[in-house]
C-alpha cells in the first residue's frame, strides 16, 4: 500500500480535520521546524531539492518559481504576497476541494511555510465561489490558527508575521489563470496580464507575488518536515511525491485517490476506478482535465509523470482524467468542452473571444449533421490559429483547442461519419 501523505488525515468523506487532530498527526511540525531552525533560504533550497512541480496543471518547478521573487532591495517598496489558487474550475477536476474541505490546516501550514520562504506577509486563498463548505472550513481553520499563534503577528514567537484571507471568486474559469486571478483579486476585470512582467516581480498590487495551486502548497509541510530526499522517494517514476489522481466518466468507481507520481494510467483506471462500466470500452481519455489532449488505449501503460505524458502529446494537467467510452460521441464531447471554453473566454484577445464561438458553430453544424468537408478544413485552420501558443494573450485558448486537435487526430473517422451520415452516429445512445 502506498504511503499517504496529502490525505493521511482524510478518511471519512464528510469529515474535516480540526486543529487538535491535525496537530496530533505531526501537524505544524514542519512550520515549527522551519521557524526554529531554518532560514527562508534553507526552506527554498529544500523545496528546490524536492523537485516538487506545480500541481495546478503546468507542472512548473515550485522552487524555481519561488526563486524568481526578488530579494528586498531589488524591488519596489511594499509587501510581497502569496496567493493560493483554489479556483478549481478545470472540467473534471475535484481534487483541491477534497484537500480544503477535509484537511484545511494542511493547506494553511503549507501557505505559512511558503510565505515564510518567499518573504510574504499577506496571503490570500482565492477560492471558487461555489466551494461554500471549503470556504467555511478554511475560515474556521484560519480563525483557529490566529488563536493558536500559527497566523498573525510573530508566529510561534518568531519574527515572522502573516495575515491570511479567504477570497471567494465571483466565478469565472479564467480566474484560474494566475494573472487573471490577480486582476480579479484587485477588483478589476478578470483578464490575464501580459507576461513579462511575471507576477513574481510585479503581481498583486504591482508587487512580487507567488501564486500556487492548493495541492502544491499542501506538499510543503511534508517536504519541510521530512526533507526533500524522503519526498523524492515517494514517486515511482521520474517525478517526486504523491499526487491526487481522479477519474470521471463511465467507469465503475469514479473518484479521487492519492497515489505516487508516476503511477501508470492503467493502474489508476483498473485498480482504483475498477475499469469501464459493463458493456463499454475505453475510446480515449483526457489525462488532466478538459484542456488536455486525448490519449487512447495505446497510452494506458504510460506513467502519470509530467514529461512522460507530455512526450505522448498531452499534458498531466491536474491529473484528473475524463474517460470517453465507445458509446459516446467524441465530436459531442469536444463540442461540450468548446462550448464551455467559449463561454468562459474573458474576451480580451481576438482569437479566443471570437475564434472559439466560431469553432463552436462549426462543431454544432457537424454534430447536428449539417457539416461538410470544408468544415473539417475550417476546424484544422482554427486549431492552428487559436491553438498555437503565442497566438493568444494567455494559455486558455491553446488549452481549449487541445481536446479538439487530438480528437481530430485519433477520432477523425467519427468526424467524417457525421458528414457522410448527415447525423450524429451516436445519437441513439443518448449521451451528449
Amino acid at each position: 500500500m502506498t504511503e499517504k501523505v496529502l490525505t493521511k488525515n482524510i478518511s471519512n468523506v464528510n469529515d474535516t480535520t480540526p486543529i487538535d487532530r491535525y496537530e496530533a498527526n505531526e501537524g505544524y511540525l514542519g512550520l515549527r521546524k522551519a521557524l526554529n531552525s531554518m532560514s527562508p533560504d534553507d526552506c527554498l533550497l529544500e523545496v528546490k531539492n524536492s523537485n516538487l512541480r506545480g500541481r495546478g496543471g503546468a507542472g512548473f518547478p515550485t522552487g524555481m518559481k519561488w526563486s524568481f521573487v526578488p530579494k528586498h532591495g531589488d524591488c519596489l517598496p511594499g509587501h510581497k504576497y502569496l496567493i493560493c489558487n483554489a479556483d478549481e474550475m478545470e472540467p473534471g477536476t475535484f481534487k483541491d476541494r477534497l484537500l480544503m474541505e477535509q484537511d484545511p490546516h494542511q493547506l494553511i501550514e503549507g501557505m505559512v511555510l511558503s510565505a515564510y520562504t518567499i518573504g510574504a506577509n499577506i496571503a490570500y486563498i482565492f477560492i471558487r465561489g461555489e466551494y461554500r463548505l471549503a470556504i467555511q472550513r478554511l475560515s474556521e481553520a484560519i480563525e483557529e490558527c490566529y488563536n493558536s499563534g500559527y497566523l498573525g503577528g510573530n508566529i510561534l514567537g518568531s519574527s515572522f508575521s502573516l495575515e491570511m484571507y479567504v477570497h471567494p471568486s465571483a466565478g469565472r474559469y479564467i480566474c484560474g489563470e494566475e494573472t487573471a486571478l490577480i486582476n480579479a483579486l484587485e477588483g478589476k476585470r478578470a483578464n490575464p496580464r501580459a507576461k513579462p512582467p511575471f507576477p513574481q516581480v510585479s503581481g498583486l498590487w504591482g508587487r512580487p507575488t507567488i501564486v500556487n495551486n492548493v495541492e502544491t502548497l499542501c506538499n510543503i509541510p511534508h517536504i519541510i518536515h521530512k526533507g526533500a530526499e524522503w519526498f523524492k522517494t515517494l514517486g515511482v517514476g521520474e517525478d517526486s511525491g504523491t499526487k491526487l489522481f481522479g477519474v470521471s466518466g463511465r467507469v465503475k468507481n469514479p473518484g479521487c485517490w492519492e497515489l505516487p507520481m508516476g503511477t501508470p494510467i492503467r493502474q489508476i483506471l483498473e485498480d482504483h476506478a475498477d475499469g469501464m462500466q459493463t458493456g463499454l470500452n475505453l475510446k480515449g481519455l483526457l489525462p488532466g482535465g478538459g484542456s488536455t489532449d486525448f490519449l487512447t488505449e495505446v497510452h494506458l501503460d504510460l506513467a502519470m509523470d509530467y514529461n512522460v505524458i507530455g512526450a505522448a502529446g498531452s499534458r498531466m494537467g491536474t491529473g484528473t482524467m475524463i474517460i470517453l467510452d465507445d458509446q459516446s460521441c467524441p465530436v459531442g464531447m469536444v463540442l461540450n468542452l468548446i462550448r464551455f471554453f467559449a463561454q468562459e473566454s474573458c474576451g480580451f484577445c481576438t482569437p479566443c473571444r471570437d475564434g472559439l464561438p466560431w469553432t463552436r458553430q462549426v462543431l454544432e453544424d457537424l454534430e447536428n449533421g449539417k457539416g461538410s468537408e470544408a468544415d473539417l478544413e475550417t476546424l484544422a485552420y482554427q486549431i492552428k490559429y487559436i491553438g498555437t501558443p503565442g497566438n493568444t494573450h494567455c494559455a486558455l485558448a491553446p488549452g481549449a483547442m487541445e481536446p479538439l486537435q487530438s480528437a481530430m487526430k485519433y477520432f477523425f473517422e467519427d468526424f467524417k461519419n457525421h458528414i457522410t451520415l448527415g447525423r450524429c452516429p451516436y445519437e441513439m445512445n443518448g449521451v451528449y
Binding site: C75, G206, A342, G347, F348, T350, R353, P357, G390
Partner: protein, 919 residues
C-alpha cells in the same frame, strides 16, 4: 539606435520602441487595432502579428505581437512570411464574424480603419455560418452616437475614456464575445473629452452625432488647416465642409500642442457657423429699430454721414485674429483703440505676458507639460478653462508610474504592465482652487481657498522656497515635493480675475527656477487670441471704461467681433445705447452689441477666412478658411480695409492681399516673425497648390446628381497656398499647411503616421507655429505683497466665477448641442451652505445684491471656499453677476424645478440573439 531586420532588409529604428512602432516608422504597412501611439500597447487584438526568428539559423520562427515585443538591436522578423499573413487574415476574419456589413450606411465608411485593415490583410470570403451577435445601443448624449454592433472589441474606447482621460462612466462590461462598451445606463457621457472616441474607435461604434445628422463622406469633404478658437490653448483642428456647411471637426495633429486629442468644445462647439444666428448681410438700423439689409457698396454713404468730427474709436477683440485687430488699431490709431476686455482682465493678461517675458522658468508647450513630475495649480479649473492642458496634466501625473516601470525594466509603451505596477501611485499634483475641479481625482492634495487666500498661499510658498522659514506643514510639504522634482510645473491664470494669484505663481516658479532650470510656468489665456491681442496693445490704448465715460465725444465706434455686453455692466450698456455715437459692429453672430449697433457688417467665421491666433504660450499659428464666405460676409480684416477706403486712409485701403496685411503687422516688434508662421500665398509644392479636397474620386459629384452632374463652381483662393480643389499634393508640405491626412491604403485618421517622422513624433513637415514670447530669463520683479485677508460678512457670499467647458465660451454656446449640455445658469454652493439653505442640485435660490435680485438654479460643489459662492461665468443670461461682489443667497420657495427630461432610447437592435441576457 537599434537596427532590426525585416524580411531581410535592415532598418535603423528609434530606441525604446516596440516592433510595431518600428515597422510603421520604417514605412511598412503592418495592420493594428488596439495599439495607439499615445496610449501604448495591451496586446488584445493580435492584429500586428509578425514572425520573429531567434537567429540566422532559425528558419521556422514564431508568431509574436509587434506591439508587445521590444525592437531590440538585431531583431529578425518577417511581415511577409505566409504564417504571419495567414494569422493576420484570421484575426480580421474573426473580428468580422459579428461586424454588421453596413458599410454603405455607416458614417465611418470611407475613413474606417477596420475597412482599411480588412483590405490590407486580404480577407474577403466569409466562412462563419452562425448568427451575428447583436447589442442594444445607448443614448450617450447629443455629441456621440453609439452603434455597438459594429464593435470589434479593441478596448481603445475604454482605455482612452478611463485610463487616459479619467472618465468614470464608460467601461468594458460583460465578457467573452458579449463584451459591451458603454455606460451603466443610458445617459450623457460625462467626460469633456468624449469626442475623441470618434477618432479613437477604429470603426463606427462611436461616431460624431451632429455630423451624422448632416452627413458627408470624408472624400466629399473639403478640409483646411485650422486652429481651434474655443480657448487660449490653440489646438490644431481640421474642419470639414461640404456645400457651404461646416460638417465636422477632426483633431489635426500638432506634436507640440494637442497631439492626438482635443476637447469637446473644440470638436463640437463650431456648429454656430451654420446656425441661424449668423449675420449674412450688411444691416443698417432703421428709425424704428429694425435692421434693413443693404448692399455692401452702400456702407460708405452711411459712414460718411456719421463721421462728423471724424472721431472714430475702435474696439478690438481677443477672439479676432491678430490681423483684424492690428488693422483696426492702425485705422483708428492706438490712442483711440481698446483691446476690448475689462480693465481687470486686461491688467492680468498684460502682466501674464510680461511675466512670461522675464521669468527664469520656461514656458511649456502642452507636450512639455506632460513631462512635468510635480505640479502646482493656482486658481484654475483647467478642465473648464484650458481643457487640453488639463488632459496633459492628467498624463503628467503618470510620470511616476513610468519612472517606476523604467526602474523595473518595463517599457513605457507596455501600458497595462506600467499601470499594474504603479497601481495608484501618481506624480504629485497640488490643486489650489475655490471650488472642486475635474482633476481632483488625480491630485495628491486639493486645497480649497478664496481667491485672495490662493494668492497668499502662493506667496507663502514662494517665501518658503526662498528662505525656508514657513511653519505651515502643508506649505513645507508642497515646497519639498516641488524642490525635489526634476521638472516642476506651476500653472495659473486669470480665471478668478485676481492679479495676485498670477503674481504668486510667478514668484513660486521663479524661486524654483533659481535652483532648477527645468522649472516650467504656464498661464492660461481665456480666448483664442487673448495673448495676441495683448502683444499688439500699445501703452496709449483706451480702456473700455474710458470709452464709455467719453462716449458722447465719439462719432463712430467700430466694434470688432466683440459682444460688449459680456464685458460691460448692464448700466454701461445702457449708456452706450443711449449715446448719439454711431456703432458699427463687425461680427459673426447676432448678439446684444449688434442689437444696439447702427450698422452690422457680417463677418466671416474662422471657417471662412484666414488669420493668425497666438496661444497661451505665445505661439502664433495660422488658420485657413475651409470654404469661402457665403452671402455678403467678409473677413473682418477686409471690412476694416473697406472702412479705411471710406475714410480715405490710403495706407490701409491700398492693401490688396492678406499677405500684405501680414507684412504690415510685421512692423510691430512683437510680430516680426508673423510672415514666417506659415508660407505665403505663393508657396507651391512641386508647382502645385495644396488641395483642400481628398484625391480625385469619382464618387464626389453624386450628391446633387439628380439635378445636375456638374459640381458647383468652386471659388478660386487667391489669398493662400491652398486651393478649393482635389488637384495638388497633400504630402510633405510644411505642417501649417496640412488640411487633412490620407495615404494610399490608409483612409482613416490612422494615416497620420504616414505624415509623422515617427509614431507619436513630430510631423515630417516640421513644427507648426512660431513662439512670439521669449523670456529674457532675468527674473520676475514682484510688485505685490500679502493681500490683507477679507473679513467674512455674515450671510453674505463673495461671488467667484465658475467656468464650464460647455457654456462659458461665447460662440460655442450658440451651437445647439453645446447649449443643451450647458444647461441653466447656476449658483454653485458648498455642501454645507446648501444644507443650511435646504437646497440641493437643481433647486432654486434668490441672489440679491445691489440693484440685483435673480432667481437661479443651484449646483452643489464637492468643495467650495468658505464664504464664497460660484456663478456660471459666461452664460448669456446672467451678465449681472460679477466676480468679487457680495450677495445674499436664500432658498427660492417658489422655484419650479424643471421636470426631468425624458431621454429617448436611441435605437433598439431589430432582433435579439439567443443569449442577449448577458448584456
Amino acid at each position: 539606435m537599434p537596427t532590426i531586420i525585416v524580411d531581410g532588409k535592415s532598418y535603423e529604428v528609434g530606441s525604446g520602441k516596440n516592433l510595431l512602432e518600428a515597422c510603421l516608422d520604417a514605412g511598412l504597412d503592418l495592420p493594428y487595432f488596439c495599439w495607439h501611439p499615445s496610449m501604448g500597447s495591451i496586446g488584445s487584438c493580435r492584429q500586428c502579428a509578425l514572425v520573429q526568428y531567434r537567429d540566422n539559423d532559425d528558419q521556422h520562427g514564431r508568431i509574436i505581437m509587434g506591439c508587445m515585443t521590444p525592437a531590440t538591436d538585431g531583431a529578425r522578423v518577417s511581415l511577409k512570411v505566409e504564417k504571419a499573413k495567414e494569422f493576420r487574415e484570421a484575426v480580421v476574419e474573426s473580428l468580422m464574424l459579428n461586424h454588421p456589413h453596413d458599410c454603405p450606411v455607416c458614417s465611418e465608411g470611407g475613413e474606417c480603419h477596420l475597412q482599411d485593415m480588412t483590405v490590407m490583410v486580404g480577407h474577403r470570403d466569409r466562412r462563419y455560418k452562425g448568427k451575428k451577435n447583436t447589442h442594444r445601443n445607448q443614448y450617450l448624449g447629443p455629441l456621440i452616437n453609439h452603434e455597438m454592433n459594429r464593435c470589434i472589441t479593441c478596448y481603445r474606447c475604454e482605455r482612452f475614456y478611463r485610463d487616459y482621460a479619467g472618465g468614470k462612466d464608460l467601461s468594458a462590461q460583460a465578457s467573452r464575445d458579449r463584451i459591451y462598451f458603454g455606460r451603466h445606463q443610458d445617459g450623457i457621457l460625462e467626460s469633456e473629452f468624449s469626442g475623441n472616441l470618434v477618432e479613437v474607435c477604429p470603426t463606427g461604434v462611436f461616431t460624431d452625432k451632429p455630423f451624422l445628422a448632416d452627413y458627408s463622406r470624408k472624400w466629399d469633404l473639403q478640409s483646411s488647416p485650422s486652429i481651434c478658437s474655443g480657448c487660449g490653448v490653440g489646438c490644431n483642428i481640421s474642419p470639414g465642409e461640404r456645400y457651404g456647411r461646416l460638417k465636422r471637426i477632426h483633431n489635426r495633429y500638432n506634436h507640440e500642442i494637442n497631439g492626438y486629442f482635443i476637447c469637446d468644445r473644440g470638436r463640437f462647439g463650431a456648429g454656430y457657423v451654420n446656425g441661424d444666428k449668423r449675420t449674412n448681410y450688411v444691416g443698417i438700423k432703421e428709425p424704428n429699430g429694425a435692421f434693413k439689409a443693404i448692399k455692401k457698396n452702400e456702407i460708405s454713404r452711411h459712414i460718411i454721414q456719421w463721421l462728423g468730427n471724424g472721431n472714430i474709436v475702435g474696439i478690438g477683440s481677443p477672439r479676432a485674429s491678430v490681423e483684424s485687430n492690428y488693422l483696426l488699431q492702425k485705422l483708428v490709431g492706438p490712442s483711440k483703440f481698446s483691446l476690448g476686455v475689462s480693465q481687470t482682465e486686461h491688467n492680468i493678461l498684460k502682466r501674464q505676458v510680461s511675466i512670461l517675458q522675464t521669468t527664469r522658468a520656461s514656458n511649456p508647450s502642452v507636450r512639455e507639460i506632460e513631462m512635468a513630475d510635480a505640479i502646482l495649480v493656482l486658481g484654475e479649473d483647467l478642465t473648464n478653462t484650458a481643457a487640453r492642458i488639463a488632459l496633459a496634466i492628467r498624463q503628467a501625473t503618470k510620470n511616476k508610474a513610468i519612472a517606476m516601470a523604467t526602474k523595473m525594466g518595463i517599457e513605457e509603451w507596455h501600458d497595462s504592465a506600467v499601470r499594474n505596477l504603479a497601481q495608484k501611485e501618481l506624480s504629485p499634483l497640488f490643486i489650489t482652487t475655490t471650488a472642486a475641479t475635474k482633476l481632483d481625482d488625480v491630485a495628491m492634495k486639493t486645497i480649497t481657498l478664496s481667491p485672495d487666500e490662493i494668492a497668499n498661499f502662493g506667496l507663502e510658498l514662494a517665501r518658503q522656497l526662498a528662505d525656508g522659514n514657513s511653519q505651515d506643514p502643508q506649505i513645507i510639504e508642497i515646497a519639498t515635493y516641488l524642490t525635489t522634482a526634476e521638472r516642476p510645473l506651476i500653472v495659473s491664470g486669470p480665471s478668478l480675475l485676481n492679479a495676485n494669484i498670477v503674481e504668486s505663481a510667478a514668484a513660486v516658479a521663479d524661486a524654483l527656477a533659481m535652483s532648477n532650470q527645468n522649472t516650467q510656468l504656464s498661464f492660461t489665456f481665456p480666448e483664442s487670441n487673448s495673448t495676441g491681442s495683448i502683444l499688439l496693445g500699445e501703452p496709449q490704448n483706451l480702456m473700455l471704461s474710458d470709452i464709455i465715460e467719453n462716449i458722447d465725444e465719439i462719432d463712430v465706434l467700430v466694434v470688432l467681433e466683440n459682444d460688449l455686453s459680456r464685458r460691460l455692466s448692464a448700466f454701461e450698456m445702457t449708456q452706450l445705447n443711449a449715446s448719439q455715437t454711431k456703432i458699427i459692429s463687425i461680427d459673426v453672430l447676432e448678439n446684444k452689441t449688434l442689437e444696439i449697433s447702427d450698422m452690422v457688417l457680417p463677418a466671416a467665421s474662422f471657417a471662412e477666412t484666414q488669420g493668425t491666433l497666438v496661444n497661451n504660450e505665445g505661439r502664433a499659428q495660422r488658420f485657413y478658411s475651409v470654404f469661402s464666405p457665403l452671402h455678403d460676409r467678409l473677413p473682418s480684416w477686409q471690412w476694416v480695409i473697406d472702412i479705411a477706403a471710406v475714410i480715405e486712409n490710403e495706407e490701409l485701403s491700398a492693401i490688396a492681399s492678406f499677405d500684405e496685411v501680414i507684412d504690415l503687422c510685421a512692423q510691430n516688434n512683437n510680430f516680426q516673425a508673423l510672415s514666417s508662421v506659415a508660407p505665403d500665398k505663393n508657396f507651391r509644392d512641386h508647382g502645385l497648390k495644396i488641395p483642400r479636397q481628398t484625391h480625385r474620386n469619382s464618387g464626389r459629384t453624386a450628391i446633387t446628381a439628380n439635378t445636375s452632374v456638374h459640381e458647383p463652381q468652386q471659388s478660386p483662393d487667391e489669398e493662400t497656398p491652398l486651393t478649393y480643389s482635389m488637384e495638388g499634393l497633400n504630402r510633405d508640405q510644411p505642417s501649417a499647411l496640412t488640411p487633412f491626412v490620407w495615404s494610399p491604403g490608409w483612409n482613416s485618421n490612422q494615416s497620420l503616421q504616414k505624415f509623422q517622422a515617427e509614431t507619436d513624433g513630430p510631423l515630417k513637415g516640421g513644427p507648426s507655429g512660431i513662439k512670439l514670447i521669449k523670456s529674457s530669463g532675468c527674473g520676475v520683479s514682484l510688485d505685490y505683497d500679502r493681500t490683507p485677508s477679507v473679513s467674512l460678512k455674515n450671510n453674505y457670499w463673495r461671488l467667484v466665477p465658475i467656468y464650464s467647458l460647455h457654456g462659458s465660451e461665447e460662440l460655442s454656446l450658440h451651437t445647439k448641442e453645446i447649449s443643451e449640455l450647458a444647461g441653466l445658469p447656476f449658483i454653485m454652493l458648498s455642501g454645507r451652505d446648501a444644507d443650511n439653505m435646504k437646497v440641493s442640485d437643481g433647486d432654486g435660490v434668490i441672489v440679491s445684491g445691489d440693484d440685483l435680485r435673480i432667481s437661479i438654479s443651484v449646483r452643489v460643489s464637492a468643495r467650495m471656499a468658505k464664504g464664497c459662492a460660484g456663478y456660471s461665468a459666461g452664460y448669456n443670461e446672467i451678465g449681472h453677476l460679477t466676480a468679487d461682489t457680495y450677495v445674499q443667497i436664500n432658498r427660492d420657495d417658489e422655484w419650479q424645478p424643471l421636470k426631468p427630461v425624458v431621454i429617448a432610447t436611441d435605437r433598439i437592435a431589430s432582433f435579439k440573439s439567443e443569449d442577449n441576457q448577458y448584456v
